[in-house]
């Protein structure tokens, strides 16, 4: 895009100026200092991208002054590109909302939205334009901080939508990577882990001799085991010797004991079978004697025959006595029955007992009195006759006086007779009462009932009396017998009844009879035993004589002696067996027992020494085995290797993080680079070309890193800070121009160059011209210069800028 006209209404020190630019790739503004060259540069950039006030820091507007309060600020630019012509008019007056000023964009005479125009430049902003397309003194201040990033960022800006963010991210990733690992450093964690891993590896290298040590121990153990085997064999040999000598020592004592025992051994003559026979007979005899004693004692307990006879005589009456006892009991019952009958009769007939006591005479008297008193005197009837006679007389008096009289007399006679009868009855009753009182009879007297019962009563009384007499006689006879019985059997219960005593006596008598029989049998047995005892004594005596002893006790003593002899004999046999093999040697040794002791001591000492030596080997062997065992179960190496593995695990993890950070940062670079069509390498080639031109070939190569360095034609590399100021400026110029040219396909705006920036000394002018010509093939180049020579060299028709007023 080319600028064709600049129309300044009011801007800074300039007002109402219009400059038409030639239709050539290079336009030159010529004017002395303060003529408005910088203001014009500002005007162009601010009409394009908006006004900047004084208080906004910008290196370009040191000479900018706002106009008066009422004045309008602004103007127009006319531009053309291949497709169209544009007119941009921007103005600002006090009170406008936008500080950037109001912008009107006309495309080919038609107003269009501003975005239509700006979209052609990737929507770059004021700063981008100023930083890249304008070259003046102010930019030199940035020279020291010039680095690759500036260029990358700006180039990437063209490619990726979020280039700034992505670049920041890339830097962050690089920083993070650097925090994990540094090529030369100790502090980053990965460096520390690597150091630790080295140390652990060294440690493992030191430990890897475990196997060799184990095998060395194996050899030593094997050697010691051989030694121990030899030592143990030697010890076993010595032990055998010691055992042999010890055995001989022990046998010597046995031998001596044997000899002693043999010396005192005198066996007796003794027949075991005979002794046993004698012993049997003696035992039998003893048994017979015991039986004899027992039988004798039984005989002494028998009662006398006389006593037995008396008892028998007493008991001969037993039948009779028992009959009497029966009779006695029968009588007793009869008496009792009679008494009961008598009592019953007395009860039924009160006064019967008294009547029974009456003599015959009294009885007759009583009977007579009772009969008299019992006659019913009908005196009441006669007295009634009196009453009836009177009454009838009274009745008959009216009718018949005679009759009345007869009746009256008859009545009176009846009454008198009744009176007489009554008196006679009362007297009889009184006599009876007196009689009854005298004989304790009931007042009724001797009633018929009493008299009827009387014979029965009297018969019963007589029977009772007779029975009682008989009973008393029996009692006496039995009492006499009882006394007799108690004398014959004093052991029976004296208090018991006779019948019981009799039965007991009979039992005793029976027992006594049996006893007497047993005593007779015992006597026969005693006689038999006595004869057996005699026989046995004889047999025993014969045996004792045969054994040449007098008594059985002697024979027993002899037996004990014989037993002791047998024991001694066994001892002798045992001792002889123990020494049998060595008897000959022992006989010799017995002569010099001390030699044997000395020999035993010497061999035992050797054995002790050998045992000690063996123990020492065993102890060493145990130690070696412990060491070997420790190695065998040693986890040291495994643990060390595991530790290393842990560290390596961490290294891998952290390494992955580091590598991922680095890869990611590189990926962003590459992505941005591809997005910007890999402009950067091309730009670098172009910049080198420009720099070579600007330095007349003294510098060939530019290297862009964090800091820029350049390679001189002699191959030496110079960092930018060591370049002369002029060379530095040339480098910067070359890079920026290359950059602008590189992006020209997307952002094609005029390049504005202030000669204060470039050292266009005469010697280089042809080279500069060559450079600008190259540049102007892509971009319009507008030079602002105060050097007439330069202006003349570049164009025939410079645009003249003149200082106002």
């Amino acid at each position: 895009m080319k600028l064709t006209q600049i129309e300044i209404k009011h801007f800074g020190s300039l007002s109402q100026r219009t400059f038409s630019l030639p239709d050539q790739p290079i336009a030159v503004f010529y004017g002395p200092n303060e003529a408005g060259k910088s203001t014009t540069v500002s005007f162009i950039s601010q009409i394009l991208f908006g006004f900047r006030k004084l208080n906004e820091s910008s290196p370009f507007f040191t000479n900018y002054r706002p106009l008066g309060h009422t004045s309008l600020m602004g103007g127009s630019l006319e531009l053309v590109d291949k497709q169209s012509s544009w007119r941009l008019t921007r103005s600002w007056t006090k009170g406008d909302d936008s500080r950037r000023g109001g912008l009107t964009v006309m495309q080919a005479g038609q107003q269009v939205p501003a975005a239509v125009f700006f979209s052609q430049f990737k929507d770059i902003d004021y700063n981008f334009y100023v930083d890249n397309f304008i070259f003046n003194q102010d930019l030199l201040d940035q020279l020291g901080s010039l680095n690759q990033q500036d260029f990358l960022e700006r180039i990437y800006y063209l490619g990726a939508a979020q280039s700034s963010d992505l670049l920041a991210l890339r830097n962050q990733l690089q920083t993070e990577a650097g925090q994990i690992f540094k090529k030369t450093g100790r502090k980053p964690p990965l460096n520390q882990l690597l150091t630790a891993a080295d140390a652990q590896q060294d440690e493992i290298a030191g430990l890897s001799d475990e196997l060799a040590t184990y095998q060395e121990l194996n050899k030593q153990i094997s050697k010691q085991q051989t030694q121990l085997q030899t030592g143990e064999a030697e010890a076993a040999k010595l032990q055998k010797q010691v055992n042999r000598l010890q055995a001989l020592t022990d046998k010597l004592s046995t031998w001596q004991q044997y000899q002693q025992l043999l010396h005192n051994y005198h066996p007796v003559k003794f027949e075991q079978a005979q002794y046993e026979q004698a012993q049997t007979i003696a035992h039998q005899l003893q048994d017979v004697q015991t039986e004899l004693n027992k039988v004798g004692n039984q005989q002494a307990a028998t009662i006398s025959t006389g006593q037995m006879q008396r008892q028998n005589m007493c008991l001969a009456k037993a039948g009779e006595v028992r009959a009497k006892l029966t009779r006695q009991l029968s009588l007793q019952d009869q008496i009792k029955v009679n008494q009961q009958q008598l009592a019953q009769l007395s009860e039924l007939n009160p006064g019967l007992a008294a009547v029974a006591q009456l003599s015959e005479q009294d009885l007759q008297t009583g009977k007579k009195l009772t009969t008299t008193a019992a006659v019913k005197a009908n005196w009441q009837l006669y007295l009634g006759g009196l009453g009836a006679g009177v009454l009838l007389a009274l009745l008959a008096f009216k009718t018949n006086h005679l009759l009345t009289w007869i009746l009256l007399v008859a009545g009176l006679a009846s009454g008198g007779y009744g009176w007489y009868l009554k008196n006679r009855h009362d007297q009889s009753v009184h006599k009876l009462q007196v009689f009854c009182q005298q004989h304790h009879l009931p007042t009724t007297g001797l009633t018929t009932q009493l008299l009827t019962s009387l014979p029965q009563y009297r018969s019963l009384q007589a029977q009772s009396l007779q029975q009682q007499v008989e009973f008393d006689q029996l009692n006496q006879q039995l009492a006499k017998f009882q006394t007799e019985l108690q004398q014959c059997f004093p052991e029976i219960d004296q208090a018991a009844e006779l019948s019981s005593q009799l039965m007991a006596a009979e039992q005793i008598a029976a027992g006594n009879r049996q006893q007497l029989q047993a005593a007779e049998i015992a006597q026969q047995h005693l006689n038999a035993l006595t004869s057996q005892a005699e026989r046995l004594k004889l047999s025993l005596q014969q045996l004792l004589q045969a054994a040449d002893v007098k008594t059985m006790e002697d024979y027993q003593t002899l037996h004990k002696k014989w037993l002791a002899d047998k024991q001694t004999e066994a001892q002798l046999n045992g001792l002889q067996a123990a020494i049998a093999d060595d008897q000959e040697q022992l006989t010799q040794l017995a002569a010099h027992p001390v030699d044997l002791q000395h020999k035993l001591s010497a061999v035992a000492q050797n054995l002790d020494e050998q045992t000690k030596a063996n123990n020492q080997i065993r102890s060493q062997l145990a130690e070696l085995k412990v060491k070997q065992g420790q190695l065998a179960s040693s986890q040291t190496k495994q643990a060390a290797e595991q530790n290393l593995s842990v560290t390596e695990g961490k290294i891998l993890n952290l390494g992955k993080e580091y590598l991922a950070d680095l890869l990611a940062s590189k990926l962003i670079d590459a992505g941005l680079n591809y997005a910007s069509s890999q402009r950067f390498p091309k730009m670098l080639v172009q910049a080198q070309h420009f720099f070579s031109l600007l330095t007349a070939g003294r510098y060939q190569q530019i290297k862009l890193g964090k800091k820029i360095s350049v390679t001189r034609s002699d191959g030496k590399i110079r960092p930018v800070q060591y370049l002369s100021r002029a060379t530095g400026e040339q480098l910067y110029f070359a890079l920026k121009l290359a950059f602008v040219q590189q992006i020209s396909d997307q952002i094609n705006l005029p390049i504005l160059i202030d000669d204060a920036f470039v050292n266009f000394d005469p010697e280089r002018q042809s080279l500069i011209r060559q450079l600008l010509t190259s540049l102007s093939q892509t971009n319009q180049v507008i030079i602002f210069t105060a050097q007439p020579g330069l202006a003349k060299m570049l164009t025939d028709q410079p645009i003249m800028l003149q200082k106002e007023g």
Binding site: G159, Q638, S645, L659, A670, L672, N673
Partner: protein, 408 residues
């Protein structure tokens, strides 16, 4: 005939990246390789195999600890006492002198090619089936020669085993240092079974002739995923056909379990979601390498939480089968959160930079300082993890930019 083929036991090997585990669990995992080895021996005894082939790297180093050696010796004795033939070669890790091997001499134990030369033994089963085992051991940690090509041709009809610890030639000199062989070598030899070791990932290299890597016997880190153990082979003595059965003995197993996020979750929701998702996938005691896909849905705090090993432990306490979370890989959506017009440039940048070459260059300084890193820089999985992390980081930061932009 029955045989067991195992390799790469790496007894004594440390475990990488498990420093955060509770000490009891650490002890447990340190014994894991021994346990697995003992199980294989047990299996050999129970199956009454005729032969056990040990294809190198039984120990993790050429100076194994006596403890480890004694363990190995005891286990070997179980086999030889049972009259099981054991043929062993050393690998690039346990390249040691035969004298350093603490194994009781036995007529049933054979160490092949201890002088780094091909050696052959002729054996026969109890039933009289004759076979040979041909192989070689390492004397140094590298063998640059193709020793397989020097192996003798098959002897008539005798069943032939090849036994060695080696990697297939890649054509790159500095990489071909593990007795590099070619498939042509094996096909030319035409043995009945090549018992190989060195590659920890179980695989059948060739079917005709059979060339098998049984993998290592116990997963030790996130690069050794899946079931680990040995192969039990049954030979048809007439046709010489081999029927292979994998015997799983390694426990715990290392697994990569993937969980996909579909939207933003609170920290609490995220924890519950992870527990549910992981527990669903667990069937046995597992060391889990969590591949959390769509990590762009995570907040910075959640990312921080997920990278905190204490959080792993807390989470592990609620996992089934005493499993442990031991690694978290955050995988962000493939498409970078960048303005659409710039995306092609960044895709191109990713294609250019997320490559082994670029990573090697970026990690050059680091590789010089750390052998383990230098080695890992060449490891495809490690590279991928770095790329995933790079991508995930970028996504997180880019989302920050987007969020800030949105916030404005």
């Amino acid at each position: 005939m029955k045989f067991i083929h195992l390799a790469d036991a790496h007894l004594d090997s440390p475990f990488l990246g498990l420093s955060f585990l509770p000490s009891a669990e650490k002890q447990n995992i340190l014994q894991a390789a021994n346990r697995s080895f003992a199980k294989i021996v047990q299996c050999a005894l129970e199956e009454q195999v005729d032969l056990v082939l040990l294809a190198g790297d039984i120990f993790d180093s050429d100076h194994p600890s006596p403890a480890s050696q004694l363990f190995f010796s005891q286990q070997l004795k179980r086999l030889t006492d049972a009259e099981v033939q054991v043929v062993m070669v050393f690998g690039n890790h346990d390249h040691m002198s035969p004298n350093d091997l603490l194994v009781q001499p036995s007529q049933y134990f054979h160490l092949l090619g201890a002088d780094e030369k091909v050696e052959q033994v002729h054996l026969q089963t109890n039933s009289g089936f004759a076979y040979s085992v041909t192989g070689f051991s390492y004397l140094q940690n590298h063998i640059q020669t193709d020793l397989a090509s020097q192996m003798p041709a098959k002897n008539g009809t005798e069943f032939a085993f090849g036994l060695f610890h080696a990697g297939e030639a890649a054509g790159i000199k500095q990489h071909d240092v593990y007795a590099p062989f070619t498939r042509d070598d094996l096909q030319r030899l035409d043995y009945d079974y090549f018992a190989l070791g060195h590659i920890h990932h179980r695989q059948m290299l060739l079917e005709h002739p059979l060339a098998v890597y049984p993998g290592n016997i116990q997963g030790r880190h996130s690069n050794e995923l899946g079931d680990k153990g040995c192969y039990l082979g049954t030979v048809d003595e007439t046709s010489h056909e081999v029927n292979l059965q994998f015997i799983k003995t390694g426990q715990p197993v290392w697994l990569e379990l993937q969980v996909e996020l579909s939207h933003l979750l609170s920290m609490q929701e995220l924890t519950q979601f992870l527990l549910d998702q992981l527990n669903q996938q667990l069937t046995e005691k597992t060391y889990i390498c969590l591949r959390l896909v769509n990590a762009q849905f995570l907040s910075d705090k959640e990312v921080e939480m997920l990278q905190d090993t204490e959080y792993w432990q807390d989470l592990s306490q609620q996992l089934k089968d005493v499993s442990y979370l031991v690694k978290v890989n955050l995988i962000s959506q493939k498409q970078l959160l960048i303005k659409e017009q710039d995306r092609p440039a960044f895709v191109k940048a990713e294609q250019e930079l997320l490559t082994g070459e670029a990573l090697t260059e970026v990690g050059q300084d680091l590789g010089k300082k750390s052998a383990v890193l230098a080695e890992q820089l060449q490891d495809k999985q490690f590279q991928q993890e770095v790329f995933d992390l790079t991508h995930s980081k970028l996504q997180r930061y880019l989302r920050g930019l987007t969020d800030e932009t949105n916030a404005d």
